[in-house]
Amino acid sequence: MIYGDKKTGVLVQGATGKQGEFHIGLMNAYAKQVGGRGVVAGVTPGKGGREVHGVPVYNTVKEAMRDNDISASVIFVPAAAAADSIMEEANAGIQTIVAITEHIPVHDSMKAIAYAKMEGCSVIGPNCPGLLSPGEVKMGIMPAGLFLPGNVGVISRSGTLTYEVVDELTRAGIGQSTVVGIGGDPVIGQTFVDVLERFGNDPQTKAVVLIGEVGGNLEEEGAKSTDLPLVSYIAGISAPPDKRMGHAGAIVEGGEGDARSKIARLKKMGVPVASRPSEIPEMVRELFKGHC
């Protein structure tokens, strides 16, 4: 696994909000099922002293860190305050931050991500579903019931499309090592390159499914950076130019980042690209026949 395991103590910011509370419940149900530590503390300014599903809530991240062994966090706070939350956590010494929050202004994200980097902290997201290492740890909002432990890594800019692909893999009997949703915004912390580097150092991961979409060229940069066998899928072949397709980052601008040219570049690098999600399991099997 990458980013965390059973022993990882997780903090949730925005713990007393509707989403935070709901997902602390689900994350800890998963932790209980796999024998992990799960969410050990929550933070909501002004709500210190409360409990959410038995998890103590603190006013600041530093207070939570003083009383608990914490190395990762999940952020559910609203967009206007989310960048501040990222910086507070990085400053307090948290190593991995998962920012679920959508609609954070890009300039705020750029600042928070640059600051976190300076503090030596990795940010996953924003605008992402988080990550899940089957049998180990869940940090985020992915539906745990779809996953199966195994040795295929998955990296995706999307949420539900990732679940679709994981569901296809699991039904085909192909387990996953870690599934990471890196987020649908134009500026995100961990990119394909960063996650692939982690997968490269993870003995459990033998191949990676890379799920991209229109906008930018992070997929190609990722594919170029790794020796791991890859299968890819790119969403948005039918997306018109200059229209944001749901995600702030899913836009073909100035004739760049369209699906067809992305697919062509990936294929040129020797990466097989599925034309629809249901083809992915078979292509992964082919990969294992050839490489692994």
Partner: protein
């Protein structure tokens, strides 16, 4: 959201960047009091929210004598289907040299990227391909409020030094206005000094509120209506309506429609928490598109309650056929409710899309 040219020019003018003397007029008659200030030859530019306006006949040259007549002519035109309601009448500059300057958000570096080239005035993409060495590039640090002088020197190179101040000022605009793009093309030298002959500003949609914008003009009316419900919506022009949850899955559903030979009418991402009322609004909204013959609903997620979704689809009660793929909790209840009312529910996205394409043809 892209600002109109006169708005972008007002913003950079306030920041201290020289722009040509210009006046916004809403009728040809409003030009009269400005004729003295505009001089013998000036430019009339239609302020429409559409790209490529020059080639589409949206920019006309005019003079003192024919100014009013030319303005009338431009007001009577349609630029790519849009009526001309506002014209920017602008002084013509005595241009000596054209430069290109832009600041964007670089996705790979996650930082602002500043580009400057002495080969301005032409298409920057072409320069980037043919003479990449002619483009000076600098990555700025988003934690700093200013660009350090050494970076300015690297950018400006042998161009006039005044351009350095303009770069600093444009960078401030980029930060303060939550811009995704701040571009001056061309930035020109004239006997009177350096001017921004054109300006382009794109404001981050996620920062429109704090920038004082209350509607996003880049959206169509139906797209705005969808935004009120919290949906992401994009209008397309096929016969198959699409409702999904999550941008990636919804995009993938559109692609699958194309894969099976159909054409999607829209992109609609209902977002998180597909309660019955939200689903009802989504189905009605897509059903109200005249070209829609059939709707594909593709909802997936551990926390989606299928009975809630089924309730919403049934409550929408639209005349078109609705084909559903649902995966989540209470799947059996949802299926029973839908089949009882005669709706079709299939197990995979391939199956629903294939079926919809067959119905639409």
């Amino acid at each position: 959201m892209k600002l109109r040219e006169y708005e972008a020019k007002n913003v950079i003018k306030e920041a201290g960047i020289p722009v040509p003397a210009g006046f916004l007029i809403k009728s040809a008659e409003e030009l009269t009091p400005h004729l003295g200030a505009l001089g013998d030859a000036f430019v009339l530019k239609a302020q429409v929210d559409v790209g490529g306006r020059g080639k589409a006949g949206g920019i006309l040259m005019a003079g003192k004598e024919d100014g009013i007549k030319t303005a009338k002519e431009l007001f009577s035109r349609q630029i790519k289907g849009l009526p001309v309601k506002e014209i920017l009448a602008e002084q013509r500059l005595d241009i000596q040299h054209e430069y290109y300057l832009s600041i964007t958000v670089d996705r790979s570096n996650k930082q602002p990227l500043i580009l400057f080239t002495e080969a301005g005035g032409v298409d920057i993409e072409i320069t980037a391909k043919e003479h990449p060495e002619a483009i000076h590039r600098v990555i700025a640090n988003p934690l700093m409020r200013d660009i350090p002088p050494f970076m300015i020197r690297e950018l400006v190179g042998t161009a006039p030094k005044e351009i350095g101040q303009i770069i600093s000022k444009l960078y401030r605009v980029f930060l303060e206005k939550d811009a995704l793009l701040a571009e001056i093309n061309p930035l020109v030298t004239t006997p009177e000094g350096v001017y921004a002959a054109d300006a382009k500003l794109i404001v981050d949609d996620n920062a429109l509120g704090r920038q004082g914008f209350f509607i996003n003009r880049d959206l169509t009316e139906r797209e705005r209506e969808a935004e009120k419900h919290g949906f992401s919506y994009v209008e397309l022009n096929g016969a198959i309506g699409v409702i999904g949850n999550g941008a990636g899955l919804t995009m993938s559903t559109l692609d699958l429609i194309e894969f099976y030979g159909g054409k999607a009418a829209n992109f609609l991402d209902v977002g998180g928490g597909a309660e019955s009322e939200r689903v009802m609004h989504a189905v009605r909204l897509v059903g109200s598109v005249p070209s829609v013959k059939v709707i594909v609903v593709n909802l997936l997620g551990g926390i989606t309650k299928c009975d809630e979704v089924a309730k919403g689809i049934i409550a929408a009660a639209i005349p078109q056929k609705v084909i559903v793929r649902l995966a989540g909790t209470n799947e059996a209840e949802g299926r029973a409710m839908l089949t009882e009312k005669g709706y079709e529910m299939l197990d995979t996205m391939d199956l629903v899309v294939k079926k919809a394409v067959a119905v639409a043809v």
